[in-house]
């Protein structure tokens, strides 16, 4: 196990190194210049050139990258070009929005997808199965941003139950915070829920065809026990694999939905930073998201062991 962990840590470091280098080069190769974006067309190209120099953007890419990397390993991600605020602080300030949003979307996803997938599998090729599949097909077909707008129209504009966007902040209490994230979390989780319903259904169906399920039923084990102990637990490995990948996709989906709901989260920070060519922020957010995804995958791998004692990492 120790060797496995060491290998994973090495892979983690290598991933971050690769991602940071790639992002650094890609953002630089893209046409566009942070100084130009800051100065804008109202200013002059000469002013932009002066700003470019003062931001240190005239030096060779490798020098800039080495300098950035040197500071990053010491935990200093640099200062945002547009906000003039340390990148680490910016990322931390956005986490109280994106983290709960992703967790809520993931919780909604698990809470809806597992029972629905299980139900569809149990009702295989009967009305309930078809209804569940049509519903999940719709969920897959509706883009998140559109679902978001529809939810706003219904719950904010028509019914006035929740605000149409923006984040109330946790300082005003738990409920106002949760309330402002509710619609975005539903919109964000919709697609992934639909995908997970299908994954759960097919995984459960596979397991239900196994001999040991038939045996369990034959020896008179209650249906609930068959489902929970014999079926679901064995079906969980592929479900967990899909869900793990989906968590990463939820973070990506947050980029669009945070814009629709005007939430000050990590996704919107990243989008704004890319538009403004705010390299230190793009770099910092990418590293953060990459680390999170690697850690999620790691956690999923460890969960395999819990679910299936036959799995060993040696």
């Amino acid at each position: 196990m120790r060797r496995y962990v060491a290998r994973r840590v090495a892979a983690f470091v290598a991933t971050l190194f690769f991602v940071s280098g790639l992002v650094f080069v890609v953002v630089r190769v893209l046409p566009g210049d942070p100084a130009l974006v800051i100065i804008g067309p109202e200013g002059s190209p000469e002013a932009a050139a002066r700003l470019r120099e003062s931001l240190g953007l005239n030096r060779p890419i490798l020098v800039q990258y080495a300098e950035w990397l040197g500071r990053a390993v010491r935990g200093d991600l640099g200062v945002s070009l547009q906000y003039d605020v340390p990148v680490g602080r910016l990322i931390l300030s956005r986490l109280p929005v994106t983290l709960p949003l992703t967790v809520m979307a993931a919780a909604l996803m698990a809470a809806a997808a597992l029972p629905l997938g299980l139900y569809a599998a149990r009702r295989h090729r009967r009305a309930g199965d078809y209804v569940a599949m049509v519903v999940s097909q719709i969920g897959i077909a509706i883009p998140g941003f559109w679902a978001g707008l529809l939810l706003i129209l219904l719950f904010s504009v028509q019914l006035g139950w929740v605000q149409s966007g923006g984040f109330a902040g946790w300082s005003s209490g738990l409920w106002p915070g949760v309330r402002s994230l509710l619609l975005p979390a539903i919109a964000l989780g919709l697609f992934q829920t639909a995908v997970l319903v299908r994954a759960t259904r097919s995984s459960v169906l596979d397991v239900m065809r196994e001999d040991y399920v038939r045996t369990a039923r034959a020896k008179g084990v209650s249906e609930l026990s068959v489902l929970a102990k014999h079926t679901l637990r064995n079906a969980m490995i592929p479900i967990l694999t899909v869900a793990g990948l989906q968590l990463g996709q939820l973070m990506a989906g947050a980029i669009i939905l945070e814009s629709v709901f005007a939430l000050p989260g990590l996704g919107r920070l990243a989008l704004g930073a890319i538009t403004a060519r705010d390299l230190p922020v793009v770099q910092g957010v990418t590293l953060f998201v990459a680390s999170t995804i690697v850690l999620i995958n790691f956690a999923v791998d460890l969960l395999y062991v819990v679910l299936d004692p036959r799995i060993r990492y040696e």
Binding site: L36, V37, E42, Q82, S259
Partner: protein, 494 residues
């Protein structure tokens, strides 16, 4: 299952139908589309920064008022005997938000700093005529100019000329301090900026509200939803013309459709074939039906434009009919220029500004009829700035120029139009140093005629000011003679 459905129905019925937040007479929540890239007006010329800071947090010696007139502001008056030496007499008792009184030395510090190349002031060019700044006493300061400069007072009223205390110079980007009706409350990056009332404001009785919250909502549909849900009191930038007819019918809102200085143009790269030939540029102009463009792209909102000089400019001459839609003439001119079958061109637009794409689609359709086949290429804003604006790597592009009095761009052969006419440059230089109003007006008439004749770009229409507020919000400017967003007189009226 049936139980569950019944339970759900009961639960839904129990949720109270909350009405949209009732308007709070002391607060105003405004939607803006873009978050400013920093709040230092001496570092960024971005209009998003000006929308928050200019006139609201920081002010200048001179102000462009809602009618487009230059009025004394932090200076209570000025005089000049020779149009080269301007003496400003500062208003007494004006205090910065840190409590200190505004003195002439502050004004000198601000302009010395703007003139210092090391501070990288984005509009340093506006001050290059200044030879010396002399502080006479605490409230009197003289600017000695190298030459007569017609736009000197206007430049003193622009956003780059705001007065701030020297001790706040290092924090202007995130915590600007000034003399304005509001001071900065907080800036929650990515979400909102809050301005709070300055109780010591130098204009008695203003401001009338305690708190203004700017919320950054980039998506126009989300902005509309926020307005309809009552989450914002005013949508200032970002709503499209397609939203207007519906909102005009809604009794909860008032719609402001006004004039701006934002001229939407299709620029032709004057240094790239075939646009090097004036006949081709004229042909393109004749091939465009501008009223149809306004109808098709802007729901009929916005005025057709003939030159760069906008209707809010005192020297405006209506040239919109000078080169009317005439496809036959367009084809003839193209044939004369050696393109009897037309030509292909790429139109680069940045969808960040919705009108550019829509206008481009209408133009492509119209120009195809005279043989100019346009391929629309959508590029992201950062790319547009680098490729089109900086490097002039384009055939055609569409963009709005919001700055007032920006005819100087046509006198700069390096500007992305790449329009290089020594005759025009001479006219412009003359207008810059001519202070006599009648003589200057004549020069501006000549300037506008020359622009029409050379057709370096196609001036399409003035982008209208489109703002929507809840009923009861009063005091906003109807027209925008300068790209500003003055909230000093805003109030709720029952």
């Amino acid at each position: 299952m049936r139980h569950l459905a019944r339970l759900l129905l009961v639960a839904l019925a129990l949720v109270p139908l909350a009405s949209p937040a009732a308007a709070d007479a002391q607060n105003l929540v405004v939607q803006v589309a873009t978050e400013p890239p920093g709040l230092d007006l001496t570092a960024t010329p971005a209009s998003a920064a000006a929308a928050v800071v200019f006139y609201n947090v920081q002010e200048a010696l001179v102000k462009v008022d809602r009618h487009g007139k230059l009025v004394p502001w932090l200076a209570e008056r000025w005089n000049t005997s020779d149009n080269k030496n301007y003496t400003f007499f500062l208003k007494r008792g004006v205090r910065f938000h840190n409590g200190r009184e505004l003195r002439a030395t502050d004004v000198k510090f601000v302009f010395d700093r703007a003139l210092n190349p090391e501070t990288k002031h984005p509009a340093a060019k506006q001050y290059e005529a200044i030879a010396d700044i002399i502080v006479k006493d605490d409230y009197t300061i003289t600017f000695a100019l190298k030459t007569t400069t017609a736009n000197f007072l206007l430049n003193m009223a622009r956003q780059g000329s705001v007065i701030y205390p020297r001790e706040a110079v290092d924090t202007l980007k995130s915590e600007p301090i000034g003399t304005g009706p509001y001071r900065l409350g907080e800036w929650v990056r990515g979400d909102r900026i809050v301005l709070v009332k300055n109780p010591d404001y130098h204009v008695k009785g203003l401001p009338k509200i305690d708190r203004v919250t700017y919320r950054f909502i980039p998506d126009p549909n989300a902005a509309l939803a926020a307005l309809k849900a009552g989450d914002v009191d005013a949508a200032m930038f970002g709503l499209g013309p397609e939203h207007i007819p519906d909102l005009q019918k809604d009794p909860r809102f008032q719609v402001i459709v006004g004039e701006t200085t934002n001229d939407v143009i299709m620029s032709m790269n004057n240094s790239r074939k075939p646009f090097t030939d004036v006949r081709v540029r004229r042909a393109v102009t004749y091939g465009i039906n501008k009223p149809e463009v306004v109808k098709g792209a802007m729901f009929g909102l916005g005025h057709v434009l003939g030159t760069n000089v906008d209707p809010l400019n005192p020297y405006f001459v209506d040239m919109s009919g000078a080169m009317p839609y005439d496809p036959a003439k367009a084809k003839k001119l193209l044939a004369e220029a050696g393109y009897p079958n037309g030509f292909d061109a790429v139109l680069k637009v940045a969808p960040q500004y919705y009108y550019t794409v829509r206008t481009g689609e209408v133009l492509a359709d119209q120009l195809a009829k005279v043989g100019v086949k346009i391929k629309i290429e959508q590029i992201e804003w950062g790319q547009w700035l680098a490729r089109v604006w900086k490097d002039a790597d384009y055939d055609l592009t569409i963009i709005g120029h919001a700055e007032a009095w920006d005819v100087a761009n046509y006198a700069n052969p390096k500007y992305y139009f790449r329009y290089d006419s020594p005759e025009f440059q001479k006219l412009f230089q003359e207008s810059e140093t001519t202070v006599d109003d009648k003589a200057r007006r004549e020069l501006y008439v000549k300037i506008q005629k020359k622009l029409v004749e050379d057709a370096p770009v196609v001036w399409l229409y003035i982008h209208p000011r489109l703002a929507v507020t809840k009923k009861g919000v009063q005091g906003l400017w109807k027209d925008l003679p300068a790209p500003v967003f003055d909230l000093s007189e805003v109030a709720w009226v029952k």
